[in-house]
């Protein structure tokens, strides 16, 4: 799960870092990634480990449209307005999934779901291993994209100083669209990757959002490295917690951790700026 958590959180932190907007619909976008993987597997027979590319592409378009059509209009508005807007988007996505797919938990069938393999001394699910490796590879690819390509560098420039980027001739609006799209694509891919071993339903979006918020705040808002390390940390804590705690208590712990971090370390472990 660690790599997938990191991927989710990196999507969120990228969106926040560039636009300074918190994507409240993040978990719901993940759920849509899961349902798309489910549709692809059920209707077209595409295995989620290939289908995640299509899911990411679809979510990229969703992110693009949300940014262009909605968020871009209120970038200068008070934070409260942005939060309410994203809450509205989250409501539409979550309940849209409820209307379209119903409340029953679903699971994607993949031939790899039950396969296991020995890695050295460890006995590992193949599905989880692939999810982890693909997620880490995508994270690396995203890092390289941001560090090496022209577009990636412009995105980072716009994140540091949107006005400055505008002055040197960058098309900030287009950059925002790409950044939101890439952020949504990350979480869409993450959803598709976990869909074979994690049963999901529309209401899963909220807990996924909270997990992402937890990770991003632990790692520091806007910090890519923080999101990556935070993802690994949170998933480690969760799997340790799962051994000792009942599932409902686990949820309780994750919210309590969120409260404590908000109070004592709002800038996170790697973040320099507090909002």
């Amino acid at each position: 799960m660690g790599g997938v958590y990191s991927l989710m959180a990196i999507g969120l932190t990228l969106i926040f870092g560039v636009m300074r907007v918190v994507n409240f619909a993040h978990g719901d976008m993940m759920v849509w990634g899961m349902y798309l993987a489910w549709l692809l597997a059920g209707r077209a027979g595409i295995d989620p480990y290939l289908g995640f590319v299509l899911c990411a592409a679809a979510l990229f378009v969703v992110g693009l449209v949300v940014q262009r059509g909605l968020v871009e209009r209120i970038l200068d508005a008070p934070h409260e307005m942005q939060i309410l807007l994203m809450l509205g988007v989250a409501l539409v996505l979550e309940n849209g999934a409820l209307v379209a797919f119903g409340p029953e938990p679903q699971r994607v069938r993949s031939p790899l779901t039950l396969a296991t393999v020995w890695v050295g001394p460890l006995f590992v699910d193949v599905a989880r291993l692939i999810a982890f490796l693909v997620a880490v590879a995508l994270t690396l690819a995203l890092y390289l994209f941001l560090a090496r390509t022209d577009l990636g560098q412009t995105i980072r420039a716009a994140a540091d100083n949107a006005y400055g980027a505008l002055v040197i001739g960058a098309d900030v609006r287009r950059i925002h669209m790409v950044a939101f799209g890439v952020g949504a694509a990350c979480v869409g891919a993450a959803g598709a990757l976990v869909s074979p071993f994690l049963p999901f339903q529309p209401s899963f979006g909220l807990s996924a959002s909270v997990t992402s918020f937890n990770i991003v705040i632990i790692g520091g808002m806007g910090s890519l490295l923080g999101a990556f390390v935070g993802g690994l940390l949170v998933s480690l804590a969760e799997s340790l917690g799962a051994v000792f705690l009942s599932p409902s208590l686990k949820e309780l712990v994750s919210f309590s951790v969120l409260i404590l971090i908000l109070l004592f370390r709002p800038a996170g472990l790697f973040g320099a700026r507090a909002a």
Binding site: L85, L87, L91, L258, L263
Partner: protein, 320 residues
């Protein structure tokens, strides 16, 4: 203005004589959600501290008065204030932590959501208050137990709650306290520079708001006769509470009322029509769309918009 409001109140007082029972139910919901929205309005509207966890206060108020009635035989007419007081204690804790640690915007929203979710999970796992099954109140029809055989009694209780909260909002608005809250919303730093104890006024707003919301919890419990952690503490209820003042006009005394008159019938209609086709989430989709539209095109809400459009004199469109 004063006459329009008085006229509106007179109409609402007389209405049950001519309404059918379904219409009365819709009006009860309108009043009740307007009341909750008004309670939220003190901290979320006037003071501009966006709390997205107000369901926690409804839940605490509801469970408190229900448990007191079921276990100790205490009448909900008293229990509602005990519930309000407990909700106010939680409000004070959240407010203290949030405001003392300087959480603003997104961080404050997350804090309130996290607290509400913690309450929900605790209620879900405490067998003494019903756990996941929830609480069921046996209907006795005894007015002393806040139970009425006649729907119209609930109508008048809900109307009374709404009018009382709205009157309080109108009063606060004109007082120094209300001015401070609005000033804090507009520019907190300047307020502090001018020597306003912003922490104190935000705390007061939070405590007042959570107390009123907790009192509303009793109505919730004894109108529905069943309580489940998911619905009484859940995020959907918090969103229902926020939505009406936002649509109607946060930080105005009539905004939550207007918002409820717009949204509640809309929600009931979509629910009645679409749920028949098995589209259970459809009304929440409609909420989401509406929220997006309001934020983009009417960020101040409907009431200030009407006020500008119609001028101060002629504001008698729409019921209030």
């Amino acid at each position: 203005m004063r006459w329009a409001v008085l006229g509106g109140v007179a109409v609402l007082l007389a209405l049950p004589a001519v309404l059918g029972s379904y219409a009365i139910t819709v009006f009860i919901l309108i009043f009740f959600y307007a009341y909750l929205g008004q309670a939220w309005n003190f901290v979320g509207g006037y003071a501009g501290q966006l709390s997205a966890g107000h369901a926690a206060f409804v839940g605490i108020g509801a469970y408190t008065s229900a448990m007191l009635a079921l276990e100790a035989g205490l009448t909900p007419w008293v229990g509602m204030f005990v519930g309000g007081a407990l909700a106010a204690v939680l409000g004070a804790v959240i407010g203290f932590l949030g405001f003392r640690f300087g959480l603003r915007g997104f961080y404050f929203v997350l804090l309130t959501v996290a607290f509400a979710e913690v309450c929900r999970i605790v209620a879900l796992n405490t067998e003494a208050i019903g756990g996941a099954l929830g609480l069921y109140i046996t209907f006795t029809g005894d007015p002393a137990q806040f139970q009425f055989t006649d729907n119209r009694a609930y109508y008048y209780v809900a109307l009374g709650l709404m009018l009382a909260a709205t009157g309080l909002a109108a009063l606060v608005e004109r007082r120094r306290f209300g001015m401070y809250l609005t000033a804090i919303r507009e520019d907190e730093t300047s307020c502090e520079a001018l020597g306003v104890d912003t922490f104190r006024y935000k705390m007061l707003a939070m405590v007042l708001s959570s107390f009123l919301t907790g009192v509303g919890g009793t109505f919730y419990a004894f109108y529905l006769f069943s309580l489940q952690p998911g619905s009484a503490f859940g995020i959907p209820l918090s969103i229902e509470i926020i939505l009406r003042p936002i649509v109607g006009g946060a930080g105005t005394a009539l905004g939550p009322v207007l918002g409820s008159f717009i949204l509640t019938p809309l929600a009931e209609l979509t629910r009645a029509w679409l749920a028949r086709g098995g589209w259970s989430g459809a009304h929440l989709v409609a909420y989401g769309v509406l929220l997006v539209v309001v934020v983009l095109f009417l960020p101040q809400g409907a009431y200030p918009f009407l006020e500008r459009r119609l001028g101060r004199r002629r504001r008698v469109t729409g019921p209030r």
